[in-house]
């Protein structure tokens, strides 16, 4: 049994750039422990002073908020995709230029940031 866990950009500073892991965790508490085992540096950022998971971190299982599925009691199923998204995430790069940093030799269009296409669709 394995689930794929996708981590937000905001975590990457504490995960040496890792964006996803596979986990054998059976439920959410086990998954959080597993993430902390993979990335010890992340632990102090995931929990508050009382050891409680910080309130602005949300977990989604196959697009559904895990709190609608029973939260800590939800049993992960093989192949579940778990998204970790802070409530107000996005834009962790100083100038939001992540997409351009990733541009390979083949090149994603850089005429502007609008079309977001491999092949430019802008005028």
């Amino acid at each position: 049994m394995s689930v794929k866990v996708l981590l937000p950009n905001a975590f990457q500073k504490h995960t040496n750039g890792a964006k996803e892991i596979n986990s054998e965790a059976a439920n959410l508490p086990a998954l959080v422990s597993d993430i902390e085992t993979h990335f010890p540096a992340l632990k102090q950022h995931l929990r508050d002073g009382n050891g409680k998971l910080r309130q602005f971190i949300n977990f989604y299982v196959n697009d559904e908020d895990i709190r609608f599925l029973g939260n800590e009691t939800y049993a992960f199923k093989d192949g579940d995709e778990v998204l970790v998204i802070p409530s107000i995430a996005g834009g962790c790069c100083p100038h939001g230029d992540m997409r351009f940093e990733q541009k390979g030799p083949a090149g994603i269009c850089a005429c502007c940031s609008y079309c977001g296409q491999e092949e430019c669709t802008c005028d």
């Binding site: 602005f56 802070p86 409530s87 996005g90 962790c92 100038h95």
Partner: protein, 427 residues
């Protein structure tokens, strides 16, 4: 060197100005903090200097996060603050005002304020494309102001949005993406998009700047009351940002000496079909349980409110309360405000009006307390909510006899109704 910066709302870590919404240490939201001792604020955020400013929200620019040389392009804000004697008589209020952002320019909701500040920053950060996740009003505001600034847009909305709010986005040439899901799905996708693309999402990576625009509602209330704070404010809650920012505005005015210190009580208004914050207030819990929205008040239909914990705190700390009303009650609220004060508000305003009435009825607000209810959007955008409320009558012939017969028939109906209802209760 700017006299403002980003700061984590929980751990206090400071960040230089950039498109960033979240602390990299504790993953809590960031907000803009100011050096209140700095010359621009000390010298130009005074009653006199503000009074000499333009008749729009930019009269408060010294306490908004824009560059010193920024030239505003859209005169949003400075909407009417109206006393409401006729509504007051109906609901048992003697000192009630409505802050009427149903007529905020350019797109008839308070979102014009936040977008003005967000897009000023989008331009200064060098974005050529902006976007948002929206329940409608924000979509309209981003589309219109982006058109004026020549910015390209990607605007994401839930697929079931009101037709008027979709048209009022598309008319400005915006690229509107309908998402098969509710606002919370749209918002989650927006977070992922903002990490992937080099765009300025006004309520994601530009959120700290965007949210500051809401403060101008609070500044205006204080100034329009003659530089004093009200006893109570009733505010609709979707993501929960507005109520916290009005409070921030009042606290800043107190800190800078523009008004006398006073504890203003904050009351939150939600529709029962999407009331995660109101339920938490009523239960007395610290945590907010997400909900799957089911209400015609679509502009308030956010089941997982990003600023919910802070809204909860603002209400509790101030000694306020939160209430929620049904879809039937909110429609009555829309009609009541229109019939008594000539203000046609959207569904969210119906929620605010109906909740305000209940707060008086329950004795949570006393009749003589100075109270301001915040109306945040225009009724022309949500006419679907009134479908079936007004029958189309048969036309009469253009003859005096027909008209007299019509008047006689209708007068009778009005008198019959008056007898049925009985005398109006005295205050």
């Amino acid at each position: 060197m700017a006299n403002y910066w980003l700061q984590c709302r929980d751990c206090g870590k400071k960040f230089e100005n950039r498109p960033l919404s979240m602390c990299d240490e504790c993953f809590s939201p960031l907000e803009v903090a100011y050096d209140l001792e700095s010359a621009p604020i000390r010298d130009t955020f005074t009653r006199e200097a503000i009074g000499r400013g333009p008749q729009n929200m930019w009269r408060y620019r010294a306490m908004l996060p824009v560059a010193a040389d920024y030239i505003p392009t859209t005169p949003s804000g400075f909407t009417p603050l109206l006393s409401t004697p006729r509504l007051g008589k109906r609901i048992g209020a003697r000192n009630l005002y409505v802050k009427n952002d149903a007529v905020c320019l350019p797109t008839l909701s308070f979102k014009d304020r936040v977008v003005s500040v967000a897009l000023a920053n989008a331009v200064s950060f060098g974005f050529d494309t902006v976007g948002c996740s929206s329940t409608g009003n924000l979509a309209n505001a981003v589309a219109a102001q982006a058109a004026r600034l020549g910015l390209k847009t990607y605007i994401l909305v839930p697929a079931d949005l009101e037709a008027a709010k979709i048209l009022n986005t598309q008319i400005y040439g915006a690229r509107l993406v309908r998402i098969d899901g509710n606002y919370d799905h749209v918002n989650r996708l927006s977070s992922q998009i903002a990490e992937r693309y080099n765009w300025g999402f006004v309520n994601v990576n530009l959120r700290p700047y965007y949210a500051e625009g809401s403060k101008t509602v609070g500044y205006e209330i204080a100034e329009q009351l003659g530089w004093r704070l009200p006893d109570n404010v009733v505010v609709p809650m979707a993501g929960g940002s507005l109520i916290t920012k009005i409070r921030k505005a009042f606290n800043e005015l107190i800190a800078l000496g523009l008004v006398t210190d006073k504890n203003v009580r904050f009351f939150g208004a939600q529709a029962t079909g999407c009331s995660p914050i109101a339920q938490a207030v009523k239960r007395g819990t610290e945590t907010i349980d997400p909900q799957r929205p089911n209400t015609i008040a679509r502009s308030l239909a956010i089941g997982n409110p990003a600023d919910g914990p802070y809204a909860l705190r603002a209400i509790r700390e101030s000694g306020g309360w939160a209430e929620d009303v049904s879809d039937v009650e909110l429609v009555s609220g829309i009609q009541e405000l229109a019939e008594t004060e000539g203000i046609f508000t959207e569904t969210a305003g119906g929620v605010t009006t109906a909740v305000t009435a209940r707060l008086y009825a329950d004795g949570r607000i006393q009749p003589d307390e100075l109270t301001v209810a915040c109306i945040t959007g225009n009724g022309l955008k949500t006419t679907d909510a009134l479908a079936g409320q007004y029958a189309v009558e048969d036309a009469i012939r253009p003859r005096m006899a027909d008209f007299e017969a019509y008047v006689t028939a209708n007068e009778a109906t009005v008198e019959d109704l008056a007898q049925l209802v009985g005398a109006e209760p005295a205050l």
